[in-house]
């Protein structure tokens, strides 16, 4: 491991737990723990798993005039989501776009009452913060909190595991966010995650991270889970990985993320457009797109992975798409993937062919998620 890699506040604990550490987004991160990826994935789907995701970036945005709505309106100049309409204590998904309507990053934004709480991807955080600072600094104070810890507790027994340490957690609904105490530590707690399961994301000071992690790991339902299982869990849940499934070459509409552009920001809405690339996005909503992100399931057991070309025919004559994420789904017990296909081939149950080691494997376009979500609405 090179010296230039950063470590999370849970580094020592990860080593103590026997994690296999790998470089990821400039950090030394746990890929898996001794029980292994498969067992970690299945444990998260049946009980609860604790993830160290402290490499992700936490940013606070406060309006200079003290009105959180002003911060939300300012942020809407970079993101197509409706944040001015986001109630206090609620969180909403979104993405930063560029002038070509490409996606610069995807993120979560919460209205904390006094300011906005933003969580961005590790690999994009410096660039995101710089962009937000440049665009918003006249109206807002933007504070990078990259030294904080972030953990995710995910799984159908997450509430059972967290409630003894933080009774308020049990009362939260999906996408609620509160400031509270957990095991005596001040935390920013949201009921959200990246696995398709019920669960929580927990931000806290670096110095308190081990206290929180050890308290949660002491619960009978909880095992530590690495980035490997995080990836297979999010893929089964149909969730995009920035850099694989979405990036500056994909627009939100091509990425089938139009659901994250609320009515107020759409054509005829009270705050229509007003973000980079809006004209392109509005036109694509109106006129459609030539390719779309879809779910894919290959026949047989061989996983079709990122980079596999997709064809309309079994002979590999007519190329119509590309797989952007693919793995064997431990819960589905079959290969699962997502990728971009020409719109003519994007309907569910369309049969395509993926190139795999010189052969052409039938793959079926399928609705995502591949597993039923366990969110507490």
């Amino acid at each position: 491991m090179t010296d230039s890699l950063q470590r999370t506040p849970l580094h020592a604990l990860n080593l103590e737990l026997g994690a296999k550490m790998v470089p990821f987004a400039g950090y030394e991160m746990p890929l898996q723990y001794p029980v292994g990826l498969m067992a970690e994935h299945l444990h998260t789907r049946s009980k609860a798993g604790l993830f160290d995701v402290s490499h992700m970036g936490q940013i606070r945005i406060a309006a200079r005039n003290g009105d959180v709505r002003d911060a939300a309106l300012a942020l809407e100049s970079l993101i197509p989501a409706d944040y001015a309409g986001l109630a206090k204590g609620r969180q909403r998904y979104g993405f930063l776009t560029n002038d070509a309507a490409g996606i610069l990053d995807d993120l979560m934004v919460a209205n904390m009452g006094d300011d906005l709480f933003v969580v961005v991807n590790a690999s994009c955080k410096e660039q995101d913060a710089a962009l937000i600072e440049a665009a918003l600094s006249d109206r807002c104070v933007v504070t990078r909190q990259f030294d904080l810890a972030l953990m995710a507790l995910q799984g159908p027994q997450a509430q059972e595991a967290i409630a003894p340490l933080c009774p308020a957690a049990a009362e939260m609904r999906f996408m609620d966010v509160i400031e509270t105490e957990l095991a005596g530590v001040s935390v920013t707690l949201s009921r959200s995650g990246y696995t398709g399961e019920d669960g929580y994301e927990i931000g806290c000071a670096a110095a308190d991270a081990e206290t929180v992690a050890r308290a949660l790991l002491a619960q009978p339902q909880v095992l530590p889970i690495g980035l490997g299982a995080r990836d297979s869990l999010r893929l089964e849940a149909g969730l995009c990985l920035y850099g694989n499934d979405i990036d500056t070459t994909t627009t939100p509409i091509e990425a089938s993320l139009a659901w994250a552009i609320q009515k107020a920001r759409r054509e005829g809405g009270s705050r229509e457009g007003g973000y980079p690339g809006a004209e392109i996005v509005l036109r694509q909503v109106r006129e459609g797109v030539s390719r779309k992100r879809v779910g894919l399931m290959a026949e047989g057991r061989a996983p079709v992975r990122a980079g596999a070309k997709l064809f309309a025919d079994a002979e590999g004559q007519k190329e119509i798409g590309l797989v952007t994420s693919g793995a064997f789904g431990p819960t589905v017990q079959a290969p699962v993937a997502m990728g971009y296909v020409a719109t003519d081939y994007a309907d569910n149950d369309t049969v395509l062919f993926a190139e795999l080691r010189g052969k052409f494997v039938p793959v079926h376009v399928r609705a995502m998620p591949f597993v039923a979500p366990g969110f507490k609405r």
Partner: protein, 119 residues
């Protein structure tokens, strides 16, 4: 029958000109639980170091190389339904493919069990 090893973590066990090939316990541990195993078709000519099979975990596909030159002569079809057999018994029931080796003496250039262990 002696078992020989490669630096890329295959083992080969020779009986006359017929050999069976698999991956070592160390390799199996590194790969984690396998979800799919497939060998190239019977009759495929392979040089030493050519990809002869592929094993896949949830996250990654890894090539398995022919330790010596020869012709592929069979696949452990039990692995089609039960790929975890490789992890449960990597150097026994979890063998992956058979091959007819071109020159049985080639194996002497591979690693012995002691040499492999000391890698």
């Amino acid at each position: 029958m002696t078992t020989y090893y490669t630096k890329s973590h295959e083992w080969i066990r020779l009986d006359g000109e017929e050999a069976i090939v698999g991956i070592t316990a160390h390799a199996s541990e590194e790969l984690g639980e396998l979800v799919f195993v497939e060998a190239k078709d019977e009759g495929t000519d392979v040089a030493a170091g050519d990809a002869a099979a592929v094993v896949e975990s949830v996250k990654a596909a890894s090539d398995i190389y022919a330790p010596v030159a020869g012709v592929l002569s069979g696949f452990n079809t039990k692995l089609s339904d039960e790929p975890t057999l490789v992890g449960n018994d990597p150097e026994g029931e979890g063998w992956i493919f058979k091959m007819k080796v071109s020159n049985p003496n080639d194996v002497t250039s591979l690693l012995t069990a002691e040499q492999y262990k000391s890698l």
